[in-house]
């Protein structure tokens, strides 16, 4: 489904250093992959690079999704091909209600006018899966939301878009136990045998109970180790010392 081949990137504002350093990754339909790594190892850069954030420039390598080269495709087209990314710090849009946002989201994704009745039913159903109250509909999108509430909105959009591949960029960071539970419920509601998940995380909390296929360890922009869930458990206890890293 997703194939990343020998990818090198630099930051738009610092051309001297490669952040991703010859990265390879292969994700098949139905799989759950986990990327772990210390701060500054390039975890978020990886997520941003897949979605072609202009802040990062690819200098070598390519990204293939469903057989198409998406290396230089614009972000909205990548999203429409079926890749979703959940943000660490989602934006706020004052003046636009959640209901209005969901309608325009659906219309942007499909390129068609949304049927209001069907749409509001779909939003409500997905809100219920995440234990969200309907009253969110009339609030302004993320404006004044707590960190946990913003992550709920990310999960709600994940369910509304229902992408082929979802990338969760440290969706669990800074969340309390309840909010992590919500994220897990979101993952559970989303995941099926045909779609895939790439979880970028610092900790084990979010992985607990998930059927993880592969754990990758990212150090200095390169995958240096791979294994099953036991690798994640080991890192959770011992950190990255083994890879000559303090964090």
């Amino acid at each position: 489904m997703l194939q990343i081949n020998n990818l090198y990137t630099i930051a738009e504002d610092d051309h001297n250093k490669h952040i991703l350093n010859g990265l390879n990754l292969n994700i098949n339909p139905g799989e759950i992959h986990v990327i772990m790594g210390p701060n500054g190892s390039g975890k978020s850069t990886l997520a941003n690079t897949i979605l072609n954030n202009k802040r990062y420039i690819k200098t070598e390598g390519n990204i293939i999704f469903d057989g198409d080269d998406i290396t230089n495709l614009s972000t909205d087209k990548i999203a429409k091909k079926g890749i979703f990314m959940s943000f660490q710090t989602p934006i706020e849009i004052p003046g636009i209600t959640v209901a209005h946002y969901m309608k325009s989201l659906k219309e942007s994704m499909t390129g068609e006018k949304a049927n209001i009745y069907k749409l509001s039913k779909e939003v409500e159903e997905n809100m219920a899966k995440l234990n969200m109250d309907k009253s969110y509909n009339s609030r302004e999108f993320n404006a004044g939301f707590s960190g946990g509430e913003k992550k709920k909105m990310e999960m709600l959009q994940l369910l509304m878009i229902n992408p082929k591949l979802a990338i969760l960029d440290e969706t669990d960071s800074g969340l309390d136990v309840d909010a992590i539970k919500t994220v897990k419920e979101g993952i559970k509601a989303y995941k099926n045998d045909t779609n895939a998940l790439l979880i970028i995380t610092h900790s084990m909390k979010i992985l607990d109970g998930l059927d993880v296929d592969k754990v990758h360890v990212l150090i200095d922009g390169k995958i240096v180790d791979e294994g099953d869930i036991t690798l994640a458990e080991k890192i959770d206890k011992e950190g990255y010392k083994e890879y000559n890293h303090e964090d």
Binding site: L51, D76, I93, P94, G95, S104, S108
Partner: protein
């Protein structure tokens, strides 16, 4: 957003009616003014006032602040354009090519749906005026201003030029020399007009000026909502709009004054608006400025009575080549008076938005309150936005609060929305609509729709 944009018929702003002009005067001289006055069969005192105003216009200088107006040559402006039609009371009587334009702008339809009365001005003259009979029976007056001079001379003499004196500034002097058309509204004591009255101003002739005078008196305990809409087709010649609005809100009365202005990009919009507010009365200004090449527009409220209040809900959107210099002026003259301001400006493609606020709190204005909030949004790095505040406070017991924010749409915001399938333009559109929403929701429904449409058109670059 895509689907909405496709619904827009931009042609209505490009409609030009030809062969509609009966009479046209170019330039400015005592003779031209005498001719206009004669054409209107005005009383002597009105002609005297016009000639005095012309004197002031010639003596006064252009303002030494704000946008540069030196490109304006009054000798090239058509100062009086009489369309081939007299004031009509039924829509059917209005000639087809003029009717067509107002039809496309949705004016008669709006009247049927939700308005208490409608006036429509084409170039210098009002071509249509109508008001619901039930209001006439209650003593409500809504007529063409030229008609009011003849039919209600006492009211006119009592109020005309009393809010805005003829020597206030150069372009108000020009206005008084050339004023033509506009509306006169009188709401008797205690009468509540449930639906808005609307005046629509259309400047059709190229290189022309429009100088309508609007005078509204809301008598004690009465309420009124008034809407004015302005538009013009795009020409290469410079057009000039120097209208004047005088508002009087009496004790316990309430007036809401809505303006949605979409002049074409060849327009100099130098409009003057003032409201005198008495005890316990209020004026609410709601204003959307989208068009024009240069606008200088600072509605003024004079809070003369105890507990008088004013509010300003303003939005301006300046695109390429536009310099929108807007704001407000308030004088607090009495105790417990209140001002609330929410201004939002959007600039794009090198457009300039300047917001000026000039609030004066006099010695008598004990316990007055002022709350100013202004935010601006720039859609790129070549656009400009300025806030200029000049406040004088002569009373110690005043609560004065001010919030300002200047924003750009960050790359991160665009990236987030693009990752949700929005194109870059759609992403900007969503942010701008959210930014404008607190203002849009203050407009009457039809106008809120119109405003969203104008915002979309601005974003698409389809006007001008």
């Amino acid at each position: 957003m895509k689907t909405r944009v496709e619904e827009i018929d931009t042609n209505i702003y490009e409609l030009k009616s030809t062969n509609t002009t009966l009479k046209k005067s170019i330039g400015l001289s005592p003779d031209i003014i005498k001719e206009i006055s004669k054409e209107k069969e005005e009383p002597e005192w009105v002609l005297d006032l016009r000639l005095k105003a012309l004197d002031y216009f010639n003596k006064l200088d252009n303002p030494n602040w704000g946008p540069d107006l030196s490109m304006l040559n009054i000798d090239e402006i058509a100062t009086y354009v009489k369309p081939k039609v007299d004031n009509k009371r039924t829509w059917e009587e209005v000639p087809d090519d003029i009717k067509n334009i107002f039809d496309k702008l949705g004016i008669p339809e709006d009247e049927k749906k939700s308005l208490a009365g409608v006036g429509a001005q084409f170039d210098s003259e009002v071509v249509y005026h109508n008001i619901q009979d039930s209001l006439t029976k209650q003593g409500v007056i809504y007529v063409n201003f030229d008609v009011a001079i003849k039919e209600y001379p006492e009211l006119i003499k009592e109020y005309f030029t009393k809010a805005v004196p003829i020597m206030d500034h150069k372009y108000i002097a020009l206005h008084y020399a050339l004023f033509s058309g506009g509306s006169f509204v009188y709401i008797p004591k205690g009468v509540h007009v449930d639906f808005p009255l609307q005046s629509y101003f259309r400047l059709n002739e190229k290189g022309a000026g429009q100088f309508e005078h609007t005078l509204i008196i809301v008598d004690e305990g009465a309420t009124l909502e008034f809407i004015e809409g302005c538009s013009a087709p795009g020409y290469n010649e410079l057009n000039l709009h120097a209208g004047c609005v005088e508002l009087f809100v009496k004790k316990n009365a309430k007036l809401t004054f809505n303006t949605i202005e979409n002049w074409s990009r060849n327009m100099l919009n130098l409009n003057t608006k003032k409201c005198i507010v008495e005890e316990n009365a209020s004026i609410d200004w709601v204003m959307g400025s989208f068009g024009s090449k240069i606008s200088m527009l600072y509605p003024m409220s004079i809070l003369n009575g105890e507990n008088a209040s004013c509010s300003y809900t303003l939005i301006s959107f300046a695109g390429n080549g536009q310099n929108l210099d807007t704001g407000l002026k308030v004088i607090h003259n009495a105790p417990n008076t209140k001002t609330i301001v929410d201004n939002r400006s959007i600039s794009k493609d090198g457009g300039i938005c300047t917001f000026r606020s000039n609030v004066h709190i006099g010695k008598k204005a004990d316990n007055s309150k002022v709350s100013l909030s202004c935010s601006s949004l720039m859609l790129d790095s070549i656009s400009k936005s300025d806030t200029i505040l000049v406040n004088t406070i002569e009373n110690e017991s005043v609560e004065f609060s001010h919030e300002a924010s200047v924003g750009k749409i960050s790359d991160q915001v665009i990236f987030y929305l693009m990752s949700r399938g929005y194109s870059e333009e759609e992403a900007k559109g969503l942010i701008v609509r959210g930014f404008a929403e607190p203002i849009a929701k203050n407009f009457p429904v039809e106008y809120a729709v119109e405003m969203n449409r104008l915002i979309n058109m601005e974003l698409e670059g389809t006007i001008g």
